[in-house]
């Protein structure tokens, strides 16, 4: 469980996060949605400490991350997996070496155990046969999946994914969503996902936080979204004609 209390972040005069509080529970896929530029990435980076918030506190299972020493933070970070918006694969390493890297760094397993784990993770993201390719040689969607494999290889307790299925085809996208939901339940992970994808929101959003211009404008579950009377959220969610029609149908029934 991660508790966020009144996080503020500004770059110079530009206020990006203006006081956000919420709770992300373990074993649940927690989604953060919002328009491009609403501060999702900045928020996620504040949570893992890549950016220092200017105000507020972040608690990892009750422990105050914001006030930890470097060493204490490091021990928390070993339990964090993160997928970056641009994948951030190590481009001097092959796909396999990228996924292997955290295992080499932090475990004393045998080579066979490590390789089994790597191949297991690559299979789960539906990526077989690309082991020896370099990041420059695979597509953006494949890079995303390698990034996901790398972030789950150490079985993290907290998993952060910045737009895991942007740039993926609908089928693979669905597969990734299912994977994230499954491992979240299976290992009781606190999973936090930034997304624009309405399919993901509807499919896996047990908890959804809607950011707008640096504020938390709404939060609830995917079931609540359709009923919500929040104007901004409605504009955001029902931006497509298809969903608008769906919404009309719901209203008519209601």
């Amino acid at each position: 469980m991660i508790e966020v209390k009144n996080i503020k972040k500004h770059f110079g005069d530009k206020k990006v996060l203006k006081g956000i509080s919420t709770v992300f529970e373990a074993g649940k896929a927690n989604l953060i949605i919002g328009t491009s530029g609403s501060g999702k990435t900045v928020f996620m980076k504040c949570l893992v400490g890549l950016l220092e918030p200017n105000d507020g506190a972040i608690l990892y299972d009750g422990e105050n991350f914001s006030q930890m020493t470097k060493k204490e933070r490091k021990s928390i970070r070993r339990k964090i997996g993160m997928l970056f918006q641009g994948s951030a694969l190590f481009d001097s390493m092959t796909v396999e070496e990228n996924v292997l890297f955290p295992l080499n760094m932090f475990t004393d397993w045998s080579t066979k155990e490590k390789m089994d784990r790597v191949n297991f993770c690559l299979e789960r993201v539906n990526l077989v046969g690309a082991n020896d390719k370099y990041p420059g040689e695979i597509s953006g969607g494949m890079m995303k999946r390698v990034g996901i494999a790398r972030s789950i290889v150490l079985n993290p307790k907290y998993l952060f994914c910045d737009e895991p299925n942007s740039g993926l085809d609908p089928q693979t996208s669905l597969l990734i969503d299912e994977l994230l939901t499954d491992i979240t339940k299976e290992y009781n992970i606190t999973t936090i996902i930034n997304t624009h994808d309405m399919n993901s929101v509807m499919g896996m959003g047990e908890k959804v936080v809607f950011l707008h211009q640096g504020y938390k404008d709404w939060e609830g579950s995917n079931k609540d979204i359709l009923q919500s009377k929040n104007q901004l959220l409605n504009d955001f969610i029902f931006a497509s004609d298809f969903l608008k029609a769906l919404r009309k149908g719901i209203d008519n029934v209601g």
């Binding site: 980076k45 893992v48 890549l50 490091k74 021990s75 970070r77 070993r78 339990k79 964090i80 993160m82 970056f84 918006q85 641009g86 951030a88 694969l89 190590f90 481009d91 001097s92 890297f101 955290p102 080499n104 760094m105 932090f106 475990t107 004393d108 397993w109 155990e113 150490l154 079985n155 952060f160």
Partner: protein, 232 residues
Amino acid sequence: MLKQMISVPESAYMYWKETVRQMNHIGVGSLIIIGIISFFTGAVTAVQFAYQLSGSYFPPYLLGFVIRDSMIIELAPTLSCLVLAGKVGSNMASELGTMRISEQIDALEVMGVNSTAYLVAPKIFAALIIVPPLIIISAFLGVYGGLLAAVNYGIAQEMFEKGLLYMFDPFNVVIMLVKAYVFAFLIATVSCYQGFYVKGGALDIGKASTRAVVFSSILVVLFDYLIAVVMT
């Protein structure tokens, strides 16, 4: 299924592996250019000294002596390191810059890897291991280039060889090695610094790598002078 993970400290083996990769990168990649450049530097120095000294009262065998000492004291370490600043320095800066811009450094940090230790230390270490042997090779090839050029210029080989053995001062080799270590350290640290703290996009990586070349070249000649003043 998963054993007690995340207990072992960051594996020393990984640091060593990265260091070896860097050594390979710096050393093998630079061997050819250093070789060619040193060879021709020796040759040019020979031709030009022969020309400069023709008409003065230096005996011709001194050519070998002058080439040997110029290569060892000055040309091998300084010229090679200026070339390395252009090649290796810009390379290190753009490699780290790319990692910074594409968030690979952030990814390491989130994993709990000390990114400075993992990325910068192996580069400096590798440079310190690899650059001095490169300089030694450079000195030998320079003298050899000088020999061939001198013979080509019409100076008897025995004369040149006599000069090569004339008044050899081992201390000059010490000067060369001191320079090699100092320059290697300067190039690696300056370039890593420039690359590691890049902000912005692809253009800024190019700028950082230019700054790496400029600052390390300046520091190399500055320390060249300081070492010359202190040690000679």
